[in-house]
Amino acid sequence: MKKYFIIRVINILITLFIIATATFFLMKQLPGSPFDEEKLSNLSEEQRMEFYARYGLDKPLSQQYVLYMKNLVQGDLGESFYFKGQDVSTLIKNRIGPSALLGVQAVLLGFTIGIILGIVAAFRHNTMWDFSAMIVAVLGVSIPNFVFAALLQYYVGLKLGILPVAFWESYSSSIMPTIALSLMVIALIARFTRNEMLEVLQQDYMLTAKAKGVPPFKIIYKHAIRNALIPVITILGPIVVSLLTGSLVIENIFGVPGIGSLFVDSIKVNDYTTIMGLTLFYSAFFVLTMLIIDLLYGVIDPRIRISGAKE
């Protein structure tokens, strides 16, 4: 386990290093510049050099790269090209709040509704309940998040007018983006819970529990749900991915000042340092979550631990 952990961490560092290097050189290759070329050409040669020097653009590429890496290790992502005088790390820090709030809320909502749907579907297997829950699951996986978000905003925000549209003012502003973000989570969890429950319900220990007179509610709670939910870790990966992609587009649609909308906006204005910083941030978040998921997997399912030890 320990050896596995160390190998994984080394792998992650290599991956992040490759991403950082690739991002840096890609950005240098990019056409277009974040500066107003017209105004820049009005400056004298000296002024222009000074301007470049301020962003470290006067040095040769190799030195820029070393400097960039050195700063990166210290957690300094450089200064934003677009938001003058602001550090990218500060930008991210200031805007992570709304994104984190939406992510956590979407996970909580998604798990709650998903588990309820899954349990109902499994206990009422092959009935209308089951059928409807699975329709929700298929729709949730299939409907693109931006389509759902747009329709939600039209029907709930504009037609019913009960929730604020595209403003980040009070808590109620977070309700619609949370629902939009949780759709995929609901679908994945509902389908997963149903299938696992159907499996668990056939196990002998369920019969034993019933035979020794355990009350039905306790059987469901103590034996069925607990055992059915252990392998939920297997679908945490796709859930994290859906939240990351979802944040890019849903924050834009609902005007949430989070890192997802920051990312898309910075791409549109060629804000290179911010793009680089956010790319790294997203990648690091992604690989670390995957690591945690894999470790949890080993902790919870002993079969994997044993087969891992054999290798």
Binding site: L30, S142, F146, Y154, L244, V249, I275
Partner: protein, 313 residues
């Protein structure tokens, strides 16, 4: 009469008996036409109503994508400012957008893009993914090790990041999306195929076939490929909707196809901007993309049940 005499005499000779039913050659005869694995799956798939309805919807969408743009005289880029924001009418079946472009034509042009992406995703899965996974598993050893390191790195980076970086480097457009998919689209398939072939290689029937003198070619063509086929088809069917989603998603946030080209993502973004007063601009492209996505997903589920009965729940 001779027989009766013999019977009366109590003599039993062979010519008294005749074969009543069971014949050696009959009992071994194949009574029904042989069912190939493909036919067997098709019979199972046909019983799945949802999958068949999805298949019909997809065929309809395909037909409309091919012929839809020719059904009226408008071109998808043709602007007519005097006819901007026309609601659906007999003139413009699904209305017109802010530049007076015919929405019906644009929607089916956009659908063509989505279907192109679908074909591309399937093709890449087969061409790169299956080959990569199979080669890695069949050769094994150091080659496998090296190939797996490459995959590990690609898996470590979120797909969307690779695609976005590439789009920044190149001009946003269908070519860039295609290249991005070439880099990222096949990884999952390669991993699955490799795992499956590794598993198969260890099984007794492969050993039996090998000890009976099968060549490698025969082993691959007759044992490994047929036993991996189901997995390949199932995974391909799930890759397709996610590829279609990725393209529409990128186009929606402005990193995919650019105006005046029409992609369902571009159209939905346009519709979203103008939905307050012109909801139909959002509604129809949304219906088409949801139709495509839901149909592909249900069909994929159906195929999984049909090809791999063990996974049926």
């Amino acid at each position: 009469m001779k027989n009766n005499e013999q019977l009366l005499n109590g003599e039993l000779t062979d010519d008294l008996f005749e074969i009543a039913g069971r014949r050696a050659e009959d009992s071994e005869k194949i009574q029904r036409p042989p069912l190939s694995a493909f036919k067997d799956s098709w019979i199972r798939l046909r019983k799945n109503k949802g999958a068949i309805v999805s298949l019909i919807i997809l065929v309809l969408i395909l037909i409309l994508a091919i012929f839809g743009p020719y059904m009226n005289e408008y071109k998808y880029y043709e602007t007519d400012y005097s006819a901007a924001y026309q609601p659906p009418s007999s003139e413009h079946w699904l209305g017109t957008d802010k530049f007076g472009r015919d929405q019906w034509t644009r929607i089916w042009e956009g659908t063509r893009i989505s279907l192109y992406i679908a074909v591309l995703a399937a093709f890449l899965d087969l061409l790169i993914g299956v080959t990569y996974g199979a080669v890695s598993a069949l050769i094994g050893g150091k080659v496998d090790n090296a190939m797996q390191r490459v995959i590990e790195i690609l898996v470590g980076i979120p797909n969307l990041i690779i695609i976005i970086l590439l789009i920044m480097l190149m001009k946003p457009g269908i070519l860039t999306i295609t290249i991005a998919m070439v880099i990222t689209g096949w990884v999952n398939m390669a991993r699955l195929v490799r795992a499956q072939i590794f598993k198969l290689k260890e099984q007794e029937f492969v050993l039996a076939s090998r000890s009976l003198g099968s060549t490698n070619k025969r082993l691959i063509l007759h044992h490994l490929i047929p036993n991996t086929m189901g997995l390949i088809v199932i995974n391909m069917m799930f890759t397709i909707p996610s590829a279609i989603f990725t393209e529409a998603f990128l186009s929606f946030i402005g990193l995919g196809l650019q105006e005046p080209l029409a992609s369902l993502g571009v159209l939905i973004n346009d519709g979203f901007q103008g939905m307050r007063n012109h909801f139909y601009l959002l509604l129809y492209p949304a219906i088409v993309i949801v139709g495509i996505m839901v149909s592909f997903n249900i069909l994929a589920d159906g195929l999984r049940d049909a090809l791999d009965p063990k996974m049926r729940k």
